[in-house]
């Protein structure tokens, strides 16, 4: 050890700092510091950490040395019109630039391909949604037409598509309350099961339907009741409850259309 120190003393040259341009400093503190334990000992296996520590050491040296050099009037910035031979030839720099460009292009291409795939997926989804919406509208339109045919709604609102749904609701509610028509339960059932009614199982002549006498009204059947007496007095009240015959009904239908 002493030998080393003696040797160093002999060997050391007394030169001004400008000649040597050396700086001994630790690295610049990392703004994204990860705790005291890691900052002390740089793990040599961790390549990125190691290189970053070297980089920061160089930065610290530069930050200290450049002001000193400026004070000593040593130039550090190369003027733009100063052309001189560089350590790496222009050809080499060209090669480097080409490589960087190709890498960037490859990345961009992959990005574009990814985006295209995503767009296609989205487009498909939107298309499906549009088709479904159209189906729904068609269904609603047909129902509205049927309602009108049956004579329940005398407005031709469904032709007017510009009317927004909210507006339509407000107007509809006001008129629906004053209308007579079928009561709420009937309307709900019509809306749920379609206006034609449950078609498939409606006219079976089964034991149940045969035994089912709920739709029998004795007064209607025997043509008795308050209608007989009231018709003379009031007139027309019972006539509303009495269901007209087949021919009369058809006439009514044709007339309404």
């Amino acid at each position: 050890q002493d030998g080393l120190k003696r040797c160093l003393a002999e060997f050391r040259q007394q030169l001004t700092w400008v000649e040597r341009l050396d700086v001994t400093l630790g690295p610049v503190p990392d703004p994204v510091s990860q705790g005291a334990s890691t900052s002390d000992a740089v793990d040599p296996e961790n390549d990125f950490q190691r290189e970053m520590s070297f980089y920061r050491q160089a930065q610290a040296a530069v930050l200290e040395a450049l002001p000193r050099l400026h004070k000593l009037q040593v130039l550090t910035r190369r003027p733009d019109d100063y052309f001189a031979e560089m350590a790496k030839s222009d050809q080499q720099m060209q090669k480097i630039r080409q490589k960087l460009k190709s890498k960037q292009e490859a990345m961009e291409r992959s990005e574009k391909a990814k985006q295209l795939r995503a767009m296609r997926k989205y487009g498909k989804k939107v298309q499906v949604e549009v088709l479904q919406r159209r189906q729904k509208e068609k269904k609603n339109m047909l129902n509205a037409v049927k309602k009108y045919q049956k004579g329940l709604s005398d407005k031709l609102d469904f032709l007017d598509e510009e009317q927004t749904s909210s507006q339509g609701n407000k107007k509809g509610n006001a008129s629906q309350r004053t209308k007579k028509g079928p009561n709420a339960k009937r309307r709900y059932k019509n809306q749920k099961f379609g206006f034609g009614g449950k078609k498939k199982g409606s006219k079976w002549n089964t034991k149940e339907s045969f035994n089912d006498v709920s739709s029998f009204q004795s007064k209607v059947a025997h043509n008795k009741g308050p209608g007989k007496g009231g018709r003379g007095g009031k007139g027309g009240k019972k006539a509303l409850n009495k269901r007209p015959g087949k021919r009369a009904r058809q006439k009514m239908k044709n007339r309404a259309r």
Partner: protein
């Protein structure tokens, strides 16, 4: 100004170096305008011949690359007339020509030297620092040098080794790009004289590459031998003579045979219990059965 600091560095090598080493040498020559080149030295000559070569070329410092077995690269740094010299093992060499190093600097511009603070803490590192400074710094007003300072050499100590990097200074706010080359120096010994003389310092952490390779081979061999041994032990266990145990006459004493049960013959098929997997399904089946009955009855 006048060129006062007359440092000249001789950079050359021995025979048998690889292309990478040759490129590294050329890179160092371009980066250091105060350097001189020389032909390859024959391995037959002794090392102190280098001192004479340096004197002939009028150089007072020397960087000598020595390649052994076409694999290991050693580097000597020395102050030729009488000063100290150091021998290093060089690893992880990357040259200027690598495409990942995108920086560039003026040929012959003076470098800024940046050292790790650990260089000041140990005497041998302090000596090495002085050696590096004198060798790598370009003298001011050297005829081949450019007056600007636009790159910085970094010497850092990590993992008992010295890492060398070269960065280009782009902006005044210290944004850097690597120019290269890069290498790692593993100190072996420091001598008092140039290429000889008493040893001032020997690195305890240094392991020669031969040793390193030998250890790897030994570990592989040891693993193989262990496997063999385990196999042999297993063989012995298998083959091992089985000891015959004699029949013990007193064993039979406590044996009591079980009582005989009467033989039962079943004539009626036992009721099979249905495995109910699904209670709902069962209920459904039951309801269907009931309906059927109801219909047939009614």
């Amino acid at each position: 100004g006048k060129w006062k600091n007359k440092e000249r560095v001789l950079i050359f090598s021995s025979r048998g170096i690889s292309f990478r080493t040759r490129h590294l040498m050329q890179d160092l020559r371009t980066l250091m305008p105060h350097s001189k080149a020389d032909t390859k030295m024959d391995r037959k000559d002794q090392l102190f011949v280098i001192n004479e070569v340096c004197e002939m070329k009028n150089c007072n410092k020397c960087i000598f690359f020595e390649a052994k077995k076409k694999q290991d690269l050693y580097m000597w740094l020395s102050n030729t007339p009488q000063g100290p010299s150091a021998k290093f093992l060089v690893q992880n060499v990357h040259t200027l020509a690598e495409l990942k190093m995108t920086g560039n600097c003026l040929r012959g511009s003076r470098p800024l030297l940046s050292f790790d603070p650990m260089f000041d803490q140990e005497p041998h590192y302090a000596l090495l620092k002085e050696l590096f400074i004198q060798i790598f710094s370009t003298p001011q007003y050297h005829p081949k040098s450019q007056p600007f300072v636009d790159h910085v050499f970094t010497f850092s100590i990590t993992d008992e080794r010295i890492w060398f990097r070269n960065y280009q200074i782009i902006e005044e706010d210290a944004s850097l790009v690597e120019i290269g080359p890069r290498f790692v120096l593993n100190l072996i010994k420091i001598f008092q004289g140039s290429f000889g003389g008493p040893t001032l310092y020997e690195n305890p952490h240094y392991q020669s590459p031969n040793m390193h390779r030998r250890l790897i081979r030994l570990s592989v061999a040891a693993k193989f031998r262990e496997k063999q041994q385990v196999k042999e032990v297993q063989k012995i266990k298998q083959k091992g003579t089985k000891v015959l145990v004699e029949e013990d006459p007193t064993e039979v004493v406590f044996e009591t045979p079980a009582e005989e049960k009467p033989v039962e013959i079943q004539l009626v098929k036992p009721e099979s219990k249905s495995i109910v997997k699904d209670k709902k399904k069962l209920r459904k089946i039951q309801r269907k059965k009931q309906k059927k009955l109801f219909r047939t009855e009614g």
